[in-house]
């Protein structure tokens, strides 16, 4: 009996030591000032004490006993945006002595749960990994915590807004005050199959059918539609014996289908010009009176075009979310998909992708015809301007004003924003974090070296295209303005429903956008036209 007791004590002691040793291994402090942050799977991110901030040190637990909770779109420990929280949790807990609770919420429920928490003053959550389009509902109402003071103290992990292009910086701030902590840079680019478009036989056949050489990548949406039509129904991919598609889209209502329309329609509906005024570089509303522009002839033409493009993909995509559409492209079933940065890095994940090395990217094509809001006429151009976008959520952390521990919460979010962490996040597709910051782009545009990406398993051809596409997208001269006003979620949801009805053939493009405009007018009136106009002008920089 005594022997068993001793054995039991020995085993418990060993287990305790084992756990303690494992727990202590997430942060390694070196004498030369370097610090290794080690994740559960052994991945190491190297940083320095200086970069980590003065609050942290080998013998310091600045938030010992503090518990914080952060909400995020559900995806699990290896899911987009949620995954990094799981990866950094043990590191942060060891650095601070605090406890992190990750609250995963389905995409469709996240906004609702957040707003209920804030409106009711429950204060259940310390921070939210928000989409930038939620700012209009949280910042003016006093729910978000400004972080500028934290950034300058030197106590917390060091990062800066200066590493962002202006287009992304705008999304993290409100009237010049910083609220969002750098994490993800969203924008849509075009992905295409390099091998299919370069195949001499297909190229010759295309030229014969369409009368011009297949451009790689397509410069205009119209060219892309031709190519998409050409490949649709042919078995151009050898991964299976079945016919393949042209373009795959994610169009499920209540998900993220309306983003396709936003990105695509920008070059149809925006009248380019040197400055933003009543007619030029505007997309959503007339900046003088908040009258919707969403049913302008340019927008209608774009939606009719999207309907045509939809015909070159599987009809089931009307009910598809991101995962299904991306998977279709990754399995080699479509020539094109235009979507977020996740696709580019998921192409490199051979457990999901059959197209590593042939997954090319470019900035989105432009329309060869755009609508001039001043002359009220369509303009045909031989040299369409490239239109950049920050379409999506650029999902990042915002601290709640109900948080009892904003310091501890900020220390977590900023830890994930330091340069080496941010580079690592962008290099790994499963994290859902897309590139957008200067140190993630290759030299000479940015600071990253090709070797870093090759070491992370990227194909050289793919990564060069990918980062160039994103650089051009975020630094374009003409830009799709981002809607960040109170009620953005509702405006977009109404648009989403009407777009879905069009894509499923229920109503025409014109009818859908007219319905949208009519409902938008009601929303604007309900929320207060003058207030909305003020926020809109400020959001798009109209003077």
């Amino acid at each position: 009996m005594k022997l068993f007791k001793s054995l039991g004590l020995f085993v418990s002691a060993c287990l305790t030591c084992g756990i303690a040793t494992a727990a202590d291994h997430h942060v390694k402090w070196h004498d030369d000032g370097k610090v290794d942050l080690v994740m559960e799977d052994g991945t190491t991110i190297s940083t320095t004490r200086e970069e980590l901030g003065s609050l942290f040190g080998p013998d310091q637990k600045p938030f010992d006993g503090v518990s914080i909770s952060v909400t995020v779109n559900s995806g699990g420990p290896k899911g987009g945006i949620s995954g990094p929280l799981y990866s950094f949790r043990p590191i942060w807990e060891e650095l601070t002595g605090g406890k992190l609770e990750i609250v995963e919420l389905p995409f469709g429920e996240h906004y609702t749960k957040m707003m209920l928490d804030l409106r009711n003053g429950t204060g259940q959550y310390d921070a939210f990994m928000v989409g930038a389009f939620w700012y209009g509902d949280i910042v003016p109402n006093g729910y978000a915590f400004p972080i500028d003071d934290f950034m300058t103290t030197g106590e917390y992990p060091q990062w800066t807004y200066d590493s962002m292009p202006q287009s992304l910086k705008t999304l993290h701030t409100w009237e010049g005050v910083g609220y969002g902590v750098l994490n993800d840079g969203d924008g849509q680019v075009l992905y295409y199959r390099r091998d299919a478009l370069a195949n001499p036989e297909w190229r010759a056949q295309f030229k014969k059918e369409y009368g011009y050489s297949m451009p790689v990548p397509p410069k205009t949406w119209q060219q892309m539609l031709d190519i998409s039509n050409f490949f649709n129904g042919k078995n151009w991919d050898s991964n299976d014996p079945d016919p393949d598609s042209g373009t795959v889209l994610h169009l499920k209502v209540g998900e993220q289908g309306h983003y396709h329309f936003q990105s695509l329609s920008a070059s149809f509906a925006i009248t380019p010009g040197p400055e933003l005024d009543q007619y030029h570089n505007v997309y959503w509303f007339d900046p003088t009176n908040m009258k919707p522009l969403i049913n302008s002839p340019g927008h209608v033409a774009a939606l009719e075009f999207l309907q045509e493009l939809h015909k070159t993909g599987p009809s089931a995509q009307v009910g598809w979310s991101l995962g299904e559409a991306w998977d279709y492209f990754l399995r080699g079933k479509s020539v094109f998909v235009f979507s977020w940065g996740d696709v580019g890095s998921l192409c490199q994940d051979t457990s999901r992708s059959k197209i590593q090395g042939v997954c090319a990217s470019s900035i989105l094509p432009s329309s060869d015809t755009y609508y001039d809001h001043e002359t009220k006429k369509f303009v045909k151009t031989t040299n369409p301007v490239k239109v950049g976008n920050t379409t999506g959520g650029s999902w990042h952390g915002v601290i709640s004003n109900y948080s009892a521990n904003p310091e501890a919460t900020y220390s977590l979010l900023s830890l994930m924003a330091i340069k080496p962490a941010s580079i690592w996040l962008a290099q790994n597709g499963w994290t859902g974090v897309d590139p957008g910051f200067t140190y993630q782009f290759l030299e000479p545009q940015g600071e990253a070296g090709l070797g870093d990406y090759l070491d992370a398993g990227w194909s050289e051809a793919d990564v060069k295209d990918y980062l160039k596409a994103y650089y051009e997208t975020f630094f374009a001269d003409t830009f799709l303005p981002y809607l960040r006003i109170p009620g953005s979620f509702e405006y977009w949801d109404i648009l989403d429903k009407n777009l879905s009805a069009t894509m499923s053939g229920e109503i025409s493009a014109k009818q859908a956008l007219d319905n949208t405009a009519k409902t938008w007018e009601q929303i604007t009136d309900r929320l207060g036209r003058d207030q909305q106009l003020g926020y809109y002008q400020s959001a798009i920089g109209y003077k």
Partner: protein
């Protein structure tokens, strides 16, 4: 004296029920009516101040350099503005195309799903009321769908109806991508889940018909149809009315299955009234309008229930 004590005791016994009804039925009902005639706006005034950080014993916490650490204290003042807007939200209901569409979807759903469940339920009950091989086992299996959560059922059928590679993909039917098929899919799932409930109740009612009566009727009746039409159906009528009433009240509140299966789409093809009210209240935070929608739904359900109770009373009389 005894009567008085009895009255008091009666009140004591009724009190929990009264409190329950007042708290959980009357109060929300009145409160939502109040919301429906108001525009509710909430915001927060915030000020921040730096305060010294103290440990558990009340001593200042020091940083690595020995300086006292501070923390930010947020002072919050929540402001809610309630503006009386009269019947505006109810007027909006009349003009809103989304409401029209949701009423249409809900009506089609109710008119197709509920009668189908009743008919199938009766047919299955008649079948299982006979001697049948492995009857008990099959009856138990038949009842399984009732015990599943509608939300989980919605997600389950999402995988079954998946058009590219799902188990029914070979049929080439656009279960979820075509507006008409999507509504049909929602109806199909509801029928799958709730027919067993109808079957269970009808089977119990059938087994409650006295054997003597059935035997006598069999001798009198020339055909099975005659037996059903003249004896079984009239005997089942009160049960049918009750089941119909329960299923109607439930079906009008349709939410979970389209929520999980189609997200209300494509477009608004499967967006029911409850779904629209949920979206309006908890996604757009237009609480007044959502309350008005819920009241509209409540009134419709109450009219139906009243009519059926009247019918039920008449049939009993």
């Amino acid at each position: 004296m005894r009567t008085h004590r009895n009255t008091k005791a009666r009140f004591v016994f009724l009190l929990p029920a009264a409190i329950w009804v007042l708290t959980f039925t009357i109060f929300p009902l009145v409160y939502s009516l109040y919301i429906s005639v108001h525009k509710v706006e909430t915001k927060m005034n915030v000020s921040r101040e730096k305060v010294p950080m103290l440990d558990e014993s009340g001593n200042p916490v020091l940083d690595a350099k020995g300086n006292p650490r501070t923390k930010i204290q947020i002072n919050r003042e929540k402001i809610s503005t309630w503006t009386n807007i009269g019947l505006t939200n109810f007027k909006r209901l009349v003009e809103d195309p989304q409401v029209h569409s949701a009423i249409k979807v809900t009506s089609i759903f109710v008119l197709v799903a509920v009668p189908s469940q009743l008919v199938l339920g009766i047919l299955l009950a008649l079948l299982f009321n006979q001697r049948l091989w492995a009857r008990s086992f099959l009856r138990a299996v038949m009842l399984l769908p009732i015990f599943a959560t509608p939300l989980a059922v919605g997600y389950l059928f999402f995988t079954i109806f998946y058009e590219e590679g799902g188990p029914l993909g070979f049929l080439g039917v656009p279960f979820l991508s075509n507006p008409d098929w999507a509504l049909f899919s929602v109806i199909l799932v509801d029928i799958w889940q709730w027919t067993p409930f109808c079957f269970l109740v009808f089977l119990a009612a059938l087994q409650g018909i006295p054997n003597e009566l059935m035997e006598a009727a069999k001798m009198e009746s020339k055909s099975k149809w005659g037996l059903f039409a003249n004896i079984i159906f009239p005997m089942l009528t009160p049960t049918i009315v009750i089941v119909l009433l329960l299923r109607l009240a439930e079906a009008i509140k349709l939410f979970d299955i389209p929520f999980a299966l189609t997200g209300g789409g494509p477009g608004v093809a499967t967006q029911s009234m409850s779904f629209l009210a949920f979206r309006t209240g908890l996604r757009y935070f237009d609480l007044g309008y959502a309350s008005a929608m819920s009241y509209c739904l409540l009134i419709i359900v109450m009219i139906i229930v009243t009519l059926f109770f009247r019918k039920l009373r008449q049939s009993y009389a």
